[in-house]
């Protein structure tokens, strides 16, 4: 009987976390990141974004916050056309293959420390799955996202999607190498693949990119961490740039730009399938920024080691969750800022950057980190 109870409770807890995180935080965040992109890009260009759609049938415009809801309704109610010349099985499969790996990787993201509810004695861990091979899981599942784009490009049976699919698949495979290699210095420094423990160590000893903690009012740092800043900064730049390339985001968005290919690999898609591609790209962007924040910017921890991790008090647990999402939102704004400031890479420049520059620099970076760790042993 008690085993049944433990089985049920051990199933209920992840279910609640999955429902709460994925359906009530990440999917609305995806929809609102489209709104944020339109609004923030308008501000960057001296104009006003969507500011009229508010409560329906009234004149209350909540600064346009109802726009994603209107867009969602439009996508649902639009005609879902399957052209006659496509390979139907792959055509229907491709949007799902893009969205699912993007959402699946958020299972190992630690979005908070612990949450101690008042009437329950054990604090809940704010991760859906506390895997000991967290980062490996992320890279394995994120690589499956290439399949969606390749299959979409191939199944559409038309020139422009085909080009878009080919370019995108080669770009994504090339930058996965530098993505993985740039994370190895972090693994060497923290000695663990478990994302929760990486963030806990950053909470205790300062962020990877800001290795200073406060004791009283005195800043405490040591020479090893300052020396490690050099390879870590290089690593951060390579990781963020590869993240842009992985999510097909400017300046690497040649596979889907409008001036070269009509719409790239999602030309032949309409309504909900197009919405799945579109939202899958933004979901990958959000979860990728979640990982950049977790590995380099301290995850859910406040700077300088302030506060607790929620094991004792509910307040610090909530602060940790709020800090994580604030950092992710800041990173998304950074994505949008870069998109609207920089021109696009040409395809051969892109491949040269991935294979000639980033690969070598990431390998050299690993050697540099190993050298510094040996010196300060």
């Amino acid at each position: 009987m008690t085993e049944l109870v433990t089985i049920i409770t051990s199933l209920i807890e992840p279910t609640i976390k999955i429902v709460a995180l994925v359906f009530m935080v990440i999917l609305p965040m995806v929809a609102y990141s489209v709104y944020a992109e339109r609004r923030f890009s308008a501000i960057l260009q001296d104009r006003v974004g969507p500011n009229r759609v508010g409560v329906p049938f009234t004149k209350i415009s909540l600064a346009g916050l109802g726009q994603p809801i209107a867009d969602g309704l439009k996508f649902i109610l639009k005609e879902d056309l399957t052209p006659g010349h496509v390979r139907k099985v792959y055509y229907w499969l491709a949007p799902a293959l893009t969205m699912v790996p993007a959402l699946l990787t958020c299972a190992v993201l630690p979005f908070g420390g612990h949450l101690k509810l008042p009437f329950v004695d054990e604090p809940f861990q704010m991760v859906i799955a506390d895997l000991d091979v967290g980062i490996l899981f992320v890279f394995a599942i994120a690589s499956l996202g290439v399949y969606g784009i390749v299959i979409a490009g191939w199944a559409s049976n038309s020139k422009y999607p085909f080009f878009g699919g080919v370019r995108s698949s080669s770009q994504m495979i090339s930058y996965e190498i530098s993505l993985g290699l740039s994370v190895i210095p972090i693994l060497m420094i923290y000695g663990d693949l478990n994302l929760g423990s990486i963030v806990q160590q950053q909470h205790d000893k300062g962020w990877a990119l800001l290795p200073i903690t406060l004791e009283g009012f005195k800043p405490v740092f040591n020479l090893r961490d300052i020396a490690l800043l050099v390879p870590l900064l290089i690593s951060f730049v390579i990781f963020v740039t590869s993240l842009f390339a992985e999510t097909n985001r400017l300046p690497f968005d040649l596979p889907e730009c409008e001036t070269e290919l009509v719409a790239g690999y999602h030309t032949e898609y309409s309504s909900m399938k197009f919405a799945l591609f579109f939202l899958g790209e933004y979901a990958a962007m959000i979860i990728g920024s979640g990982f950049a924040v977790t590995l380099f910017l301290g995850g859910w921890s406040l700077p300088f080691g302030l506060g607790g991790n929620g094991e004792e008090s509910l307040f610090w647990g909530l602060v940790a969750i709020g800090t994580f999402f604030a950092k992710v939102v800041g990173f998304i704004l950074f994505f949008i800022w870069i998109r609207w400031s920089i021109p696009r890479f040409r395809y051969d420049q892109l491949m040269r950057l991935g294979w000639v520059f980033f690969f070598e620099i990431a390998l050299f970076n690993i050697l540099l980190t190993a050298g510094i760790l040996m010196i300060f042993r």
């Binding site: 501000i43 960057l44 006003v48």
Partner: protein, 177 residues
């Protein structure tokens, strides 16, 4: 003849792309900060609240309309030149005779029906340019709306209503010859 295009010589600072990228990011960020602090003018006009009707130039091409002259005569003589030249064929004219005993019987023709389908009209102004009687003019109203296709066809009465009277035109039918 092959023309050799010279590549610009880049300094070492420009060859590493990162400083150039940072400069570009700084330009956009300064635009964003100025917008958020309210110090720069938004280039967007909030349409139904702000309109630019006062600043429309006088040659602005809005909806076409027929005019009458000072003596109340309808100037159109249904020559059908505008119907011929209209690119989307929005104008339909059925000509009619002016019967004997009318004051203007020397004009001999007037339109029995004159329909302009505003859904087809492209506001090009060709009808105004080609009319030999100076009878059709394009006004300055641009927001033509309706709730059915039949409502959007302006017939002769509606066209004269929105056209009104225009003074100061050449009155070639009024001189006694």
């Amino acid at each position: 003849m092959a023309i050799v295009v010279k590549r610009p010589k880049l300094s070492i600072f420009e060859k590493m792309y990162l400083p150039g990228i940072v400069k570009g990011l700084w330009i956009t960020l300064s635009h964003a900060i100025k917008m958020l602090l309210g110090r720069s003018k938004k280039v967007t006009m909030q349409y139904p609240e702000e309109k630019w009707d006062e600043e429309l130039p006088e040659y602005y091409r809005g909806a076409p309309a027929l005019v009458t002259d000072e003596q109340g005569r309808e100037r159109c003589v249904s020559c059908q030149l505008c119907e011929f030249i209209c690119p989307p064929r929005a104008i339909k004219i059925i000509p009619d005779e002016i019967e004997k005993g009318n004051t203007w019987e020397k004009v001999e023709k007037r339109p029995a029906e004159f329909d302009i389908d505003m859904i087809r009209c492209i506001y090009c102004g060709m009808c105004e340019e080609v009319c030999p009687e100076q009878a059709i003019y394009l006004r300055q109203d641009y927001a033509i709306t309706g709730e059915s296709r039949e409502e959007m066809v302006h017939d002769k009465a509606k066209l004269y209503e929105i056209g009104g009277v225009r003074v100061g035109l050449v009155n070639k039918w009024n001189e006694l010859k």
